[in-house]
């Protein structure tokens, strides 16, 4: 009987990824519960979005952990990160745009995650694996942007789901041009 809070959040994330302006009623229906019950668990839309943000931060944090971004070859670490982040891509896409849509305080949790991603790119630069003419800050933005773009492309059927992780990491790391690594 008791509503599974996590299940509701995941349903909300799935719907909001597809339609960021979905109403509380639509979210409730998508989660298979009544609107009143939704309000019993989340004080309001803001609270729901904030909870979703917490979930996204936690999940992406786990992805960073699972990808062991501090270990081994930086490029491989980026590939692992993109792959681990794939299940959270939808939530990230929603939150990434949400932060642009509504002006308002950024959740402090993002700063920690941003720092870890930036550290990964910095490490890659220091090891000589990444070019230094693209700033870690921009590479971090691009990582988020490409993950979100990929999530939408899959959503709309423009790219196959099975390819998206490779498409994102390969583009981010190697770009569109044919290349050969330096010796």
């Amino acid at each position: 009987m008791s509503v599974d809070r996590d299940h509701v959040l995941r349903a909300a994330a799935t719907l909001l990824t597809r339609k960021a302006t979905a109403s509380m009623d639509e979210i409730a229906k998508a989660a298979g519960i009544g609107r009143a019950t939704l309000h019993r668990h989340f004080a309001g839309r803001d609270a729901l979005v904030r909870a979703l943000e917490e979930l996204g931060i936690e999940q992406f944090g786990r992805a960073l952990d699972a990808a062991r971004v501090d270990e081994g070859d930086a490029a491989e670490a980026v590939r692992r990160l993109v792959a681990e982040a794939e299940p959270v891509a939808g939530i990230l896409a929603f939150l990434f745009t949400e932060n642009q849509l509504y002006e308002g305080g950024i959740n402090e949790g993002w700063n920690r995650l941003d720092a870890r991603v930036q550290a990964l790119f910095s490490r890659g630069q220091e090891q000589g694996a990444f070019r230094i003419d693209l700033s870690p800050a921009w590479l971090t933005e691009a990582l988020y942007g490409l993950i979100g773009t990929g999530a939408w492309a899959v959503q709309d059927g423009r790219v196959a789901a099975k390819d998206i992780s490779r498409m994102v990491s390969e583009l981010l790391l190697g770009g569109a041009q044919r290349r050969r690594m330096e010796p």
Copy 2:
């Protein structure tokens, strides 16, 4: 006295890029006109967004023309396109997300533009300049996504405006890894 329709659209684009949910009243104020006058020129919010879409399509079409994407080295053509598209980046970012936010028919005009961008990437692949394991469709999505991400990053001061064109095209073409072109 007569209101400059184009000026209103540009003001709306600037505001909506920063806050996609801005009300008609906010848009009117941003354009320096009264809300009633805004309604006299655009039947409603939908009409305004559609007009903005027309503007974006036209401007990006001009960017494609100016970049001469059918001529010369494909990589250089991409650089020219990104540079030419920079002034429209804000509108593109807004429309790109708008198309995700609200389900609804896509303006036919986008198909023509998409086709031209995809043709550019296909040409690059055929000439051996671009890798063939990233589909033109995905590269096109990535181009839009990175332009939008760049516009936001500049908006929020995370990347310097003067760098963004190079940041986008270099990442899109060369990726984050150090590389050397094939002989």
